[in-house]
């Protein structure tokens, strides 16, 4: 009876598969093809020939690309562990309090439902050298000499610190929510047993909460790593389209892709954009594979 559904099933899938063939599968293949073009003019649809790795090699020799790689990796490697650790701590805190859970959960979730660019701009004002809240607080704490965090005379370091703070602030919401609901699913028996053994809070956290949450932690670390590698809107929000001071000092891989994509009139640039997007894809795949392999032994299912 069920096998008769063959053609019917494809009918149900047709709208989705049709849209995806045009806007997902074809673009995926085409991105590789574009990356092999020489002197491609996208709007005229003309090429001057083919090259296997020419565009990739050009990108790898472009200092701006390495700047983008450096920024992207710094963002990913710092913001992901920090935000995972913080949100775990917050989720544990939420679990331990008897009242106001709903209130705190709601407040912590707010960054998830806001517009990256609008809030990024608010952070930019907070980090303003003269009119910002951050320097006002530092001054009150006794640090004289206002720091130019993101302005015209700021350094790469201060800009990166500001970007990391904004990134972590933004990414906590989702993780706290997922960890909190994950902890609710942990069997109470484990905690009761620990109580009988009068285990310390830290031991309970290390020996019960983390191991039993490990599938969720793994999942979150992979998805947020992929998300962090695609950082873009946060950079636009905080630094504007100049992407930092001097221009492009805070460029990320995605920003690099869009920068070259926008040069529609310059022959070959679209292929650089395609090649760099594919490099980003390869990096995300490698990361997911490594994380999957490393955690295979450590994750308890």
């Amino acid at each position: 009876m069920e096998t008769k559904n063959n053609w019917k099933a494809w009918l149900y899938l047709a709208p989705m598969l049709l849209l995806m063939s045009v806007f997902t599968f074809y673009p995926l293949i085409n991105a590789f093809i574009i990356s092999f073009y020489k002197g491609y003019r996208p709007l005229q649809n003309s090429i001057e020939g083919f090259t296997l790795l020419g565009n990739y090699l050009l990108i790898l020799r472009n200092p701006l690309f390495w700047n983008a790689m450096k920024n992207t990796f710094v963002i990913a490697f710092i913001s992901v562990p920090v935000s995972i650790f913080l949100s775990l701590a917050i989720a544990v805190g939420l679990k331990s309090i008897p009242k106001l859970n709903k209130f705190f959960q709601t407040v912590f979730f707010l960054p998830y439902v806001t517009n990256s660019i609008a809030v990024g701009m608010a952070f930019a004002v907070m980090f303003h050298k003269n009119y910002g809240l951050i320097n006002a607080i530092l001054e009150r704490l006794g640090f004289a000499g206002r720091i130019d965090w993101i302005g015209g005379t700021s350094s790469w370091w201060t800009q990166m610190v500001a970007l990391l703070i904004f990134t972590v602030w933004e990414s906590l919401a989702f993780k706290i929510l997922v960890f909190t609901s994950g902890m609710q699913n942990i069997d109470k028996q484990y905690y009761d047993a620990a109580k009988i053994d009068s285990a310390s809070k830290w031991t309970v956290f290390r020996r019960i909460t983390v191991p039993l949450l490990s599938p969720i932690i793994l999942y979150i670390s992979i998805t947020s790593m992929i998300g962090a590698l695609k950082a873009y809107n946060s950079v636009i929000g905080l630094f504007g389209v100049k992407l930092g001071n001097p221009s492009n000092s805070m460029i990320t891989i995605v920003a690099f892709v869009y920068k070259y994509r926008a040069e529609l009139a310059s022959p070959g640039y679209y292929s650089y954009a395609a090649a760099s997007a594919i490099i980003l894809f390869i990096i995300t795949v490698i990361f997911s594979l490594i994380q999957g392999a490393v955690s295979k032994k450590r994750v308890h299912y």
Partner: protein, 309 residues
């Protein structure tokens, strides 16, 4: 013996209160840090240029100091430059565009997703698992890869021209996003939980597959579908790259696009933070209203689905 027990009980209670206080203090600090940027946005939007430039910055304002002109000046017409004649920040135009795009995209996504999830959850067909695995695999691919070719497709279809119409813009902004592998996956999980017996019973009654989907599956899965609708509608609100890419004219863009850049005087390079934050506030408030209206559905949906759309 009972004495010892009482002492322990007291010590235990004291310790418990202490850790509670510590927990509350920690959570309150985090809550403060989460809320401060919103506060600073609103505060700055209410500062006059004079108060704005005070050093150190004012940390609060008396209601009598509130300067609402930052908001009204957003709607003043630009005098010169390429945007002459249009409002400094045409919020209501952007708002309308965003709502229209959001409704069209969400309608399309909901329909294609329900149909596909039904096929994957309920129907048996050759190649089902392979197709499903391939679809899930596409979720790993960074969207930038698709955007490159999708832009060219839109241009080839004649939707990106100097005399672009509103209809063409809407097609360009919505059609590529009218489906979602992720929501299909999410909805399939819900559909799968509906017992097979219902399906066979309906079959015996002579209900068609499509009738069963409409009369049983969709009503039973409606909480999940509502969540998908809400989460998906919020997407248009933060869309930035694509709407800017496929629109020729400013008046066709979405809320995120107008935010950055419009408030910096091209001559002096000075940014009017008051106006900038007024615009940011206007963009933030509707989302917060939506959030507080559907708080339960949104938070449940995100925690169950576990992926940011």
């Amino acid at each position: 013996m009972s004495d010892v027990f009482v002492v322990n009980e007291k010590a235990y209670r004291a310790k418990k209160i202490l850790t509670n206080v510590a927990s509350y203090a920690f959570l309150a600090l985090v809550a403060l840090i989460i809320l401060v940027p919103f506060y600073w946005m609103l505060l700055t939007s209410l500062k006059s240029q004079l108060l704005m430039e005070e050093i150190p910055p004012l940390l609060w304002l008396k209601p009598s100091q509130w300067e609402l002109s930052n908001y009204s000046s957003l709607f003043a017409l630009v005098q010169s430059g390429p945007r002459a004649g249009s409002p400094l920040f045409p919020f209501f135009t952007y708002l309308r565009n965003t709502v229209v795009v959001s409704i069209i995209t969400t309608t399309g996504t909901t329909i294609t997703t329900i149909l596909a999830a039904y096929a994957f959850a309920r129907l048996n067909f050759k190649g089902r698992d392979i197709v499903f695995a391939i679809l899930l695999g596409t979720m790993m691919v960074p969207g930038e890869i698709f955007i490159l070719t999708n832009f060219l497709t839109i241009a080839k279809l004649g939707l990106y021209t100097f005399d672009q119409t509103y209809g063409q813009v809407l097609v360009a902004m919505t059609v590529p996003f009218m489906t979602s592998v992720f929501y299909t996956f999410y909805l399939r999980q819900t559909f799968k939980q509906i017992p097979n017996e219902l399906y066979y019973a309906a079959k015996v009654d002579g209900t068609t597959d499509f009738g069963y989907l409409l009369k049983v599956m969709i009503p039973v899965a409606s909480p999940t579908i509502v969540t998908i609708i809400i989460l998906n509608s919020m997407g248009a609100w933060s869309a930035y790259v694509w709407p800017a890419m496929v629109t020729m004219k400013d008046e066709f863009r979405l809320v995120s696009n107008g935010l950055r850049g419009a408030f910096t005087d091209t001559g002096s390079g000075r940014t009017d933070f008051g106006q900038q934050m007024a615009a940011a506030t206007l963009v933030t408030v509707p989302l917060l209203i939506l959030f507080f209206t559907f708080r339960k559905q949104i938070m449940r949906g995100v925690s169950r689905s576990g992926i940011k759309g």
